[in-house]
Amino acid sequence: MADMKELIRLMKALEDQLIVCMRCGLCQAVCPLYAQTGREADVARGKLALLDGLLQEMFDDPGGVNERLNRCLLCGSCAANCPSGVKVLEIFLKARAILTGYMRLSPLKKLILRGMLARPERLDRLASWAAKMQKLGVRPVNETIGTSCARLMSSLPENIIAHRHFKPLADEPFHKRMPALNSAPVNGSPKVAFYVGCLIDKIYPHIAQATIDVLHYHGVGVYMPEGQGCCGIPALSSGDTATFAKLLRHNVRKLESEKTDYLVTACATCTSVIKEMWPVMAADQDDAFQARVQALSDKTLDINQFLVSKIGLKKDAQNPETAPTTVTYHDPCHLKKTMGVFAEPRAVIKAATGYKLVEMDEADACCGMGGSFNLQYYDLSSDIGKVKCANILATGCSVLATGCPACMMQISDALSQAGADIAVKHPIELYAEMVSCVTCQKPLHYDGNRCGHSSQQ
């Protein structure tokens, strides 16, 4: 273990950002974790005070601080509500990197992050192997939601599966169905780079398909390079900046290899990471590379945001007030709190034929997923999920829509555990239902009965 002096020297880099917190404590009003535990070390003010305490040599327990930093959903509710504008997520991710560098990455995390995540082809191979094997260990539990649970608790790693009702890996990940795409725009429409994201690729491939269908329907050219890597958030949140830097270089090279007007994703988390974290965490790279990262980040948009602000939604004759299917929308933290995107997904849902939007209470309260938080602290995570679940059930809806595949997984688990008959969908899936094939005009299906035209324009 390196000495404390060295750690404090590294942490000095955070001092100017840490001092901005005036300890007003208003983050206590919005932190989903604090609402469960009431512990000061769980809320942003407490964590910032711990980092400050280390820096001021008030105490010396970097391991303990790192542990508490990891008890965080990284939802950004605190930052969105902070009067002083403390850059909480940036501080936490940088601090995790410093403390992890000091404490060293655990062997398990090293295996997962550096052995798999950092190598996109290897991750893809492992995932397709796991997709085949999972059938042996799990059984379907809720048909509407499409969740499964463990057949035999003892045969699977307790922490990963536990009592979860999880969305299994798709039989065929999206990159198998469509490894790459480069379609030309029609009638002066823009051309976008489409970043798929791991969860959509491996668990929700039909969201990627629906996104491409909708983009093509609107005449948008789509560039989807082969072999995309993870956006890097699992590495960042584990403090593994080496893996993050590797993924960043890989993705930037891929995504800028064709001239496009925008970079679009259908994953709230990926969008926010590319938009907010890529430039910040690339700050130690050379200037030329930083400029490339910034250029990509500047043109990145969430799919809903792109459709509403750059294209214009298809107008439907039907009055949404009399639509037969009620849908409620959950605001992913990374869309609303990080990027201020909340009106656009609602506009997309309202534009979709047959759907009536009903708002739930606290639509923008975190669902409790928090990426690896859910793996490390499943009980806390699912307690937060139960609050969300109750608000969804109270609307009497038959569809829950949200713009983030990670939220979809968490909410699927909570709804499935509650025995709910509510489908969990991405807004783009609802919108895509009224979009027909640009070639043969037939409706598009996502269950294998497709016309076969829409993958290429």
Binding site: I19, L26, E40
Partner: protein, 459 residues
């Protein structure tokens, strides 16, 4: 160092999951919102029922352990900064609203209930709990009562003190003491309720609080008046009060604050204005409109250059958004923000504003002035960087100068933030040596071993 055996006893009372012994967890209870040095407690306990609370107080007294009660730790005078080797008792698990009685218009709560949640719960039943301190989204009722917290509505509706009907608290021996009653009138015994309000955890530990509620006003009228001269604005405040009109809120903002808010929120505020008054009347529709009209004409008589009267709820929200953004906007300008709350009799507002401005230039410090002009409670807000030692010395001198001016006008060191640690050494200036001696005798009688939040109020 607290012994293992003693920790075991706390654990027996509160449960092992509600005890924090780890240094890292304890650091998270070493501060509040005041700009003061952090002090790490020896142990943190978070009781989940009132019985445990009483037992904890007793155990602390038996073992001479300093005890600091903490709600949400939003205190601005250091009242929740613990003693070294002391115990922090966190009340945020005692968060039940025990009764909302619409017939008697009262509410009974545990101390850890969050102010805004209480306000929303009673409002859902058509009732109104007016005290609205700036931290109400997180502050607890227990903390509000212990600090006698105020807010924007002090002028017409008073402060926390005016709504406390009764308190049940544990004395230093852990015995339950009952004060006040559920009746509007109560003339029995000492007014122990009055003694406990604002006692900052130095005389007892609250377990249950009964609060008075009032009917919700049915009509509002909000307006924003713009002034070319700060003097004109503060004269208008004095004139409104002198005309015996009592708006629900009467807030002032100086040019420095206006520019900060406008930079922050782009709300379209007049950045060249010297001052803004944000005023709201409420109550019966006829009275509300009449008061608003009078206020408007008084503002014009005092040379308001323009007056914008909110025509609907959305416009009303816009008026108040500017005020709500004031602290956040100022906070973004410098790393450290010192929010003072020295208060003067209302008629002295024009003079006090001038004095604060003079102090700002004398000590070469940016001071934003905003606050509850209508009740004399200004918030001179000093922007600085506490790491700059030379500047920090000037900040401390400026604070003392503000105190002196306020006291010279017959004012007080604190309108709503409390004495805590920050103002304890100045209290004698506001009172008399005998007052401090008397207070210390009360404290000594009720807490002979000085374990209840030692060092606060009377030093």
């Amino acid at each position: 160092m607290i012994s293992k055996a003693l920790i075991d006893e706390f654990e027996k009372i509160a449960g092992s999951e509600n005890i924090f012994t780890d240094k890292t967890d304890r650091v998270a209870y070493s501060y509040d919102a005041a700009v003061l040095d952090a002090v790490m407690p020896a142990l943190v306990v978070r009781p989940v029922h009132n019985e445990a609370l009483g037992q904890i107080v007793r155990l602390c007294n038996d073992n001479r352990l300093p005890l600091t009660v903490r709600g949400s730790g939003t205190n601005l005078s250091g009242g929740t900064v613990p003693s070294a080797e002391g115990i922090v008792v966190v009340t945020n698990a005692l968060q039940k609203i025990l009764e909302i009685n619409t017939a008697d218009m009262l509410v009974v709560v545990q101390p850890g209930v969050v102010t805004a949640k209480l306000a929303a719960a009673v409002e859902a039943k058509g009732l109104f709990y007016p005290p609205d301190p700036g931290s109400q989204a997180v502050s607890t009722i227990g903390g509000n009562v212990a600090e006698n917290a105020g807010g924007l509505r002090g002028l017409k509706y008073g402060v926390t003190r005016d709504y406390v009907m009764g308190i049940e608290f544990f004395d230093v021996n852990g015995e339950l003491v009952k004060t006040g009653s559920r009746t509007v009138k109560c003339a029995t015994g000492y007014n122990l309720t009055g003694l406990m309000v604002g006692s900052e955890g130095t005389l007892g530990v609250f377990s249950e609080i009964t609060l008075k509620l009032i009917p919700k006003p049915v009509h509002y009228k909000a307006m924003m008046a713009v002034f070319d001269k700060m003097d004109d604005a503060s004269q208008a405040v004095a004139a409104i009060i002198a005309a015996h009109i009592v708006p629900a809120t009467l807030e002032i903002m100086d040019n420095f604050t206006i520019r900060a808010v406008e930079d922050f929120s782009k709300a379209g505020l007049p950045t060249d204005a010297a001052a803004l008054l944000l005023i709201e009347t409420d109550g019966h529709p006829a009275q509300t409109e009449e008061d608003a009209a009078k206020v408007e004409s008084i503002c014009r008589q005092n040379r308001a250059t323009s007056i914008h009267v909110a025509q609907d709820a959305a416009e009303r929200d816009k008026v108040w958004l500017a005020r709500r953004n004031a602290l956040a906007a100022l906070a973004k300008l410098k790393p450290t923000l010192v929010l003072e709350d020295a208060t003067v009799p209302r008629s002295r507002i024009p003079e006090m504003v001038r004095e604060i401005q003079a102090i700002g230039s004398q000590y070469d410090l940016p001071i934003g002035i905003f606050g509850h002009a209508g009740d004399g409670n200004l918030h001179p807000t000093i922007l600085t960087d506490k790491r700059n030692k030379k500047e920090w010395e000037r900040v401390e001198a400026a604070i003392e100068a503000i105190f002196d001016k306020a006291l010279a006008m017959g004012g007080t060191l604190s309108g709503e933030h409390g004495t805590g640690i920050a103002k304890a050494r100045f209290l004698e200036k506001e009172t008399t040596p005998a007052t401090i001696v008397y207070s210390k005798r009360v404290k000594k009688a009720l807490d002979p071993h000085n374990i209840l939040n030692p060092g606060k109020i009377i030093g």
